[in-house]
Amino acid sequence: MNSRVLVITSGKGGVGKTTTTANLGTALAMMDYRVVLIDTDIGLRNLDVVMGLENRIVFDIVDVVHGNCKPKQALIKDKRHEGLHLLPAAQTKDKTAVTPHQMKNLTNELRKDYDFILVDCPAGIEQGFKNAIAGADDAIIVATPEVSSVRDADRIVGLLEAAGLTNARLIINRLRSKMVKRGDMMDIDDILDILSIDLLGVVPEDESIVVSTNRGEPAVLDNSSRAGLAYRRIARRIAGEEIQIQNFDETHWIMDRFKKMLRLAR
C-alpha cells in the first residue's frame, strides 16, 4: 500500500486538530496500519500530552531536520500500539526553526516506513501552516459548527487549493444534535453549503474527550465514548472503507445504549 501524508488543519485554534490527530492516529493503528504522528506546532506542542507520551521525549522535529539525530531516534513509540509513533515538536524554538522544504524531505523519508503520516498543523496561516502542508498529499479540515470556525476553514480551503491540495475533506467536530434540532447551531448542510468540500465525518460533542485528553488516552480506546466511535468510523473511511456518515440523532443514541445494555445483561 502507498503511504499517505495527511495534514490535519483548521485555521482557527481550539477546534480539535490535536485531539483529531491523536484519535485518528490511534484508530488507524488499531486497524494495524503503521502510523506516525508529526506535531508541527513548534513552541506550543501538545500532541505528546494528549497521547500521554510527554515524559518520553528526548529528541524532537527540529533536531531531526537539523541533523542532530536520526528520525528513528526522535520517534516515540506509543504505549499501547506497536505500529504507532509520534514525532514531537520542539518546545523551546519557534515555527521558523523548520522550513517547508525540510518538512517535505522529512515526510518523504518517513513514507518508507509508514502507511499513514498524520501531520498536526498549528492554528493560523503563517509559517507553521506552510510547514505543515508542505509534504502533504491530502488535507483534513476540522471545523466546529460556529461561523468563526467555518470562516477560517473556508480561508484554509482556499490556501490549500492555492498550494495544490485540492482534495481537502471535512470533519465537523463537537456537533450538538440537540442544539441543531432546536435551530440554535449550524447544521451539517449549512457548513457544507459554504465550504463545498467532501464530508469525511461528524464527531459529536462529548465530555469524555476532556477526560481522555487529560488522562493522555485517546477517546477511541474507550468503547463507550461517542466521539471515540465517530473517530473510529472516520479512520475506516480514511483507510478506504465505505461507511455511511452517522446520523447523530439523540433517539438513535438512546436506542444504541439500550441495545448495549441488553447485550451486557445477557
Partner: protein, 210 residues
Amino acid sequence: MQATARNFQEEKLIDLKAFHTFGEMKVGLEQRLGDKHQYSPGVHLVIDIGTKQLNSRQVRELEDVLLDRGMHLKEVLSSASIRPDSMKTEIETAFSGMPGYGETVLICRHLRSGQRFFSPGNLVILGDINPGAEVIAVGNILVMGALKGVAHAGYLGDESAVIAAYRLNPTQLRIANHITRPPDGEKVMVREPEMARIRTGKVVIEKLKI
C-alpha cells in the same frame, strides 16, 4: 445616387450603403435591378446596407422586390446589428440599458474567504463567493451562484453598473461610490435571482426577470 453592384462568386452583391432611408434604398434597388444583363432571374443577391439597420418587415419588403423579378435574397449585410428588434432574445431585453464593456472575465470556481478578484471589465463567476471573499469589476458583476461576500461593481465610478446573483446574500454591496449592507437583525431568504443597481442615487435590489 447610383447603386453599385459587383460579382460575389456565385451570388451578386448590391451595395446600398449610400442610401439613408429605407424608401430610397428600395427605389435604388429597383433601379439597379432594371439592368437585365447583370441580374437574370434565379440569381442570389446579397445586399449591403452599411451601418443602417432593417427590421423584419423591411427585410420582407426587399425580398418581395427581388421575388417579383425571380431573384432570391441571400443575405443582408449590415455593420450594425443584423438582427431586427423583434429577434432580440428575452435575456437581451432584460439586460438592455446596461453599459457594455469589452472585456469580461469568467471565473469557474468558488471564491473563498481571503480570495480577491479584479476584472478590468465585466466579471462572471460560475460558483459561489463565500463570506470574506471580494470581487471587484470596472463593469458589471454576475454571479451564477451565491454571493455571500463583498462585490464592487463600477469600480471606476460607473453608476450604471449592476451586480446580479443567483442568490444575492452579500456581506456588502458596492456600486461605484455607493456602499450598502443588508439591514441588521432581519434575515431575508430570497430563493430567486436578484440584481442590485443604482436608482435615483440609491442602491436598490430587484428581482431579475429572465
